[in-house]
């Protein structure tokens, strides 16, 4: 049995790990540009007193852009596969909540992540993609939740939907354990 669950807070924490270098670089750039140009052209004297308020405004704006969507994520989302069952519980970007399938009703296919490119319509960060997923060149379409560091991608064609799922450590053996 394999389970992968992610809380909203974990999603934000993991994303922050990826965002921090960009946020810091962006803020450093904004600060340096404002400082240099205000010192040279004396825009808004005294320039040094204006810079912090601008920086705070830009900082909040950047945070809202980065985390605005994260905050709409469900409190807990994920999937479980094995023991004859597939559970999909995401409730975000078109994926269902609390859906349980008998694995015998679904056809399963395993794709090695290194052999495919993931195209996504929905939520995406350097860590995870959630929403309508297309795998190319296999041309497999469905709704899914896939992490970038996974080795295997499970394609489950169930009676009412096709799910594309992956997470760290998920592999074909897990389904039978």
């Amino acid at each position: 049995m394999y389970e992968f669950w992610l809380s909203r807070w974990e999603l934000i924490t993991i994303n922050t790990r990826f965002y921090v270098p960009y946020i810091l670089a962006f803020l450093a750039l904004v600060f340096v540009v404002i400082y240099v140009m205000s010192r040279i052209y004396g825009i808004g004297k005294p320039s040094t007193r204006r810079s912090p308020s601008w920086l705070i405004f830009i900082f909040i704006f950047v945070l809202l852009i980065l985390y605005g969507i994260d905050l709409t994520a469900p409190e807990r989302m994920g999937f479980a596969v094995g023991g004859g069952k597939l559970v999909v519980d995401v409730r975000w970007w078109g994926l269902p909540s609390g859906k349980v399938y008998n694995l015998s009703d679904c056809s399963l296919e395993w794709i090695n992540a290194s052999t495919t490119r993931i195209w996504r319509l929905g939520y995406g960060t350097p860590y995870i993609e959630i929403g309508k997923i297309t795998l190319k060149p296999q041309e497999i379409r469905g709704y899914g939740m896939v992490t970038r560091d996974a080795e295997w991608i499970l394609v489950a064609r169930c009676p009412d939907a096709t799910y594309i799922l992956s997470a760290p450590g998920l592999n074909p053996r897990m389904v039978h354990d």
Binding site: P21, A25, F26, A28, Y35, R39, Y41
Partner: protein, 281 residues
């Protein structure tokens, strides 16, 4: 000048571990403002005038790209855009060049046809960030050194220093694709020394913003070379390599001739004070 050098050269080295860990990216743009920060630290802030006509200099580096391609053509025929794009993409995604899908290469070639539409945007962005450098190199340091070395001598010295200043990003693979490949530093010093008289000439004609536009043009148009020749080996077939450096020679010779002519006709102040293009604060 000591504070200028400490700040302009010291900050990029402080940024080196950050860029090593997190990638060069936006940090390189921060680094481009360190020469301007050096001038501010030195307490010799001046206010260059910005005029629309200065932006004309943005297009002058096309002559350099053409000269570099012409010099290269003396030794080998152009191989067309596919090889260069394939090479650069392969470097970006860390796969062998022959494994880059044909469709991706074709898509990028098609995108390149749309590039002219982006020229106004590229001109503004590249000029703005290059201003951070030119404010220090051409607007401050070159006139200072010109008092002792003359404009041509100062240009060559500033060019070499300007190339050396790039060392932190060069060691991280900028321009020559290999990380910690030390010859990239002397190679780029040569490149900058070769191009510096032309930048000085642009500065003397158009002021600091003109030099920034020209510098921005170099950054914007250098990639055209890769559409003709893939950078193999990067030290040779590269706008920042031997062929790119050779491409500067005719332009530099003209710039040196014209700078001397301007000096002889008294169009440059004898004491090498900044030209009327900007005024001291």
């Amino acid at each position: 000048m000591i504070r200028f050098f400490l700040v302009a050269f010291g900050l990029p080295w402080l940024l080196l571990p950050v860029m090593y860990l997190w990638g060069v990216g936006l940090w390189a743009l921060v680094m481009m403002f360190t020469p301007a920060l050096g001038v501010i630290a030195q307490g010799e802030v001046y206010r260059p005038e910005l005029r629309l006509r200065d932006f004309a200099a943005f297009f002058y580096p096309l002559a350099w790209v053409a000269a570099s391609a012409a010099v290269t053509a003396l030794f080998m025929p152009p191989s067309g855009p596919e090889a260069g794009i394939r090479y650069l993409l392969a470097r970006m995604v860390n796969v062998p060049a022959e494994e880059v899908p044909r469709g991706v290469v074709d898509a990028i070639i098609t995108q390149n046809l749309l590039v002219p539409l982006l020229i106004p945007f590229a001109m503004l962005v590249n000029t703005f960030f290059a201003f951070g450098e030119e404010y220090g190199w051409r607007g401050y340091l070159t006139p200072k050194l010109a008092k002792r070395l003359g404009w041509v001598g100062a240009s060559l010295v500033v060019g070499a220093l300007w190339g050396l200043w790039h060392a932190p990003v060069l060691l991280l693979g900028h321009n020559y694709f290999e990380k910690f490949w030390w010859p990239s530093v002397p190679l780029f010093m040569l490149f900058c020394a070769a191009s510096s008289p032309v930048l000085t000439w642009v500065y003397l004609r158009y002021g600091v913003w003109g030099a920034a536009a020209f510098h921005g043009g170099i950054n914007a148009f250098a990639g055209i070379y890769f559409l003709l020749y893939p950078p193999e080996p990067p030290w040779l077939l590269n706008p920042a390599g031997v062929m790119g450096t050779a491409g500067w020679i005719p332009l530099t010779l003209y710039a040196i001739w014209d700078i001397r002519r301007m000096q002889n006709t008294g169009r440059i102040n004898a004491d090498a004070t900044p030209t009327p293009h900007h005024s001291s604060r």
